[in-house]
Amino acid sequence: MLLQYDRTGFPLLCLPECGLKTHLLPVTKIQMESFLSEPNAFGDTWYEQVLELNPRIAAHRLNAHNRENLFVTGIQADEALAFAAWMGGGFDLPTVQEWQQIHQGLQDADLYLPSLKDQLSDSLDEPARTLLLKLLDQLRPSSWLELSLMTQGVVEWVRMEKTSPAVWNGLGAPRSEFYPNAFNPPWETIRPLAHAHRIRYFGFRLVQRG
């Protein structure tokens, strides 16, 4: 699997069969903070609201019970789109179909953990390196799908097909400790009850088209 890196230094997986690249993981707080450190409409007040729902942990404090704290959740779809626009050309939230294609593609791809660790050790800067390597040690994934946390991660914002204006739902199945309802990913989307509210278990990953 070919890896590239976004402007925050986090890995993107190249999936030519889907015609896109995708973040390996849901977007982390460290990535979001690169965005927040630039002058924009998202400052301390906004971040406090997000952190209140899902507090931040430092990468070196990651353990088996708190990994969801690494990721940005409680974010709304339009806010995730602002982050995507800052990330650069072609970045967007995935559609339902794209998300499901990625899920399928990662299920079928072989993962050789030692070489991935070597590659990440060489390519990543801190703090992304500590975060990724600790996560690998904790998850000990046997497939790219397990590593991607498309399941056992957070619910991720996806755009419903052919909707205008866009309708945003979620896909993914958090661990029961994080959100204790069972879903049936990747096929059943989760509809937020009120888009105006922040939802603790809703995060996102980006795709890059083209």
Binding site: L36, S37, A58, P127
Partner: protein
């Protein structure tokens, strides 16, 4: 582990008062801007502040412009979040300076960076800067005097060491600067009670390993800093030149262990005759090579076609093979050879260096 060569720089003032000021202009501190501004002005006036940063922003602002520009700078940075990672690389450059953050409200990534900033001091003028207690030293609404008191803790000792460490060049290197110590198979560079501790060095160490600088303050507080390698630099660290034709001929004879006539005493000598009394030049013997008469320590002589080039080594340390160095200690008359044992990771005394120690194809090291 094999040895490799690397370069690094430690930048430090002895006073312990060199301060990097990091101000909080974020939303969470907007209601405290007046207090932050006032405290920053006092620190600029009463300590050594060269650069000012704002949380979230890696750009350095000149401290001497603060009085005139502070309002504009606060305005420029007010939409940034309270984060240190974006400026971490910049503020770590001057490793021994105190990094003083003045602000209000949590620094979100503090737990990610505080171990890399042992000199960090947080000064809150409103809400606490630590997201949870115990992450870093924090003073809550201090007056200027108590803040200054906590900053005045001069450095009294710096010790640089690491796996397989041996500096081959360091600057400054005069008698009032760092000294090289050898203990139990390890070398360390030690500076004590210096007026400044800034040092540039090129060194050998085990591949893949970094050096550490242990800084001791007068209060007894000790901090350990990792020293990052920097791109290799080629300072004019080895003054060099050419011997005269007569000296070159003398060198050929001595290196070949042939007798020669000493140009100073005009007697026949062998290669262990490296110094001699020069008529009218005092009682101390000097190098028999007139070109090197004011040089001390190790000199590498290399025949290059019809001429002999010399290179001198200001720190009297020269790597003579992959795992071996020649070194002349302060006050010694003869250089010693040290060999690095890859098994134990220690430097071992090998033996005294012979008068003309062969290095490579055409080089010889002598002591003058």
């Amino acid at each position: 582990m094999p040895l490799h060569e690397a370069c690094t720089t430690l930048a430090a003032e002895a006073t312990g008062e060199s301060v990097i000021l990091i101000l909080d202009a974020s939303e969470s501190a907007s209601s405290c801007q007046r207090q932050i501004d006032a405290l920053a002005r006092e620190l600029i006036e009463k300590t050594r502040v060269d650069r000012i940063y704002f949380l979230g922003n890696p750009v350095a602002y000149p401290a001497n412009e603060f009085a005139r520009q502070s309002s504009r700078w606060f305005q420029e940075n007010r939409l940034r979040a309270s984060l240190l990672i974006p400026l971490l690389k910049e503020i770590r450059r001057e490793q021994l300076a105190r990094q003083v953050v003045i602000g209000s409200g949590a620094i979100y990534d503090l737990d990610e960076v505080n171990e890399q900033l042992p000199n960090l001091l947080l000064v809150s003028v409103g809400e606490a800067l630590t997201p949870y207690p115990g992450l870093a030293t924090e003073l809550a609404s201090p007056n200027t005097e108590s803040l200054l008191a906590s900053l005045r803790d001069p450095i009294v000792r710096v010790q640089i060491a690491g796996p397989g460490f041996l500096p081959v060049f360091w600057h400054p290197s005069d008698a009032s600067s760092y000294r090289l110590d050898y203990q139990d198979g390890s070398f360390m560079l030690i500076g004590e009670n210096l007026s400044h501790y800034t040092v540039r060095l090129r060194y050998l160490c085990e591949a893949g390993q970094d050096l550490q600088a242990k800084i001791t303050h007068r209060s007894g507080v000790e901090n350990i800093f990792p020293m990052e390698q920097e791109p290799a630099w080629t300072a004019e660290e080895s003054p060099q030149g050419w011997l005269t034709p007569d000296e070159s001929a003398l060198f050929d004879l001595a290196a070949a262990k042939q007798p020669f006539t000493c140009p100073c005493c005009l007697q026949t000598k062998l290669q262990d005759h490296l110094r001699c009394h020069r008529p009218g030049e005092g009682i101390l013997p000097k190098s028999i090579y007139n070109t090197l008469r004011d040089t001390k320590g190790l000199v590498l002589l290399q025949r290059e076609e019809s001429r002999v080039r010399y290179r001198t080594f200001p720190n009297s340390v020269l790597q003579v093979s992959a795992d071996k160095v020649a070194m002349m200690s302060r006050g010694a008359r003869v250089a010693s050879l040290f060999r690095f044992d890859r098994e134990t990771g220690r430097w071992q005394t090998d033996r005294e260096m012979e008068p003309y120690y062969k290095v490579g194809e055409a080089g010889y090291v002598i002591t003058v």
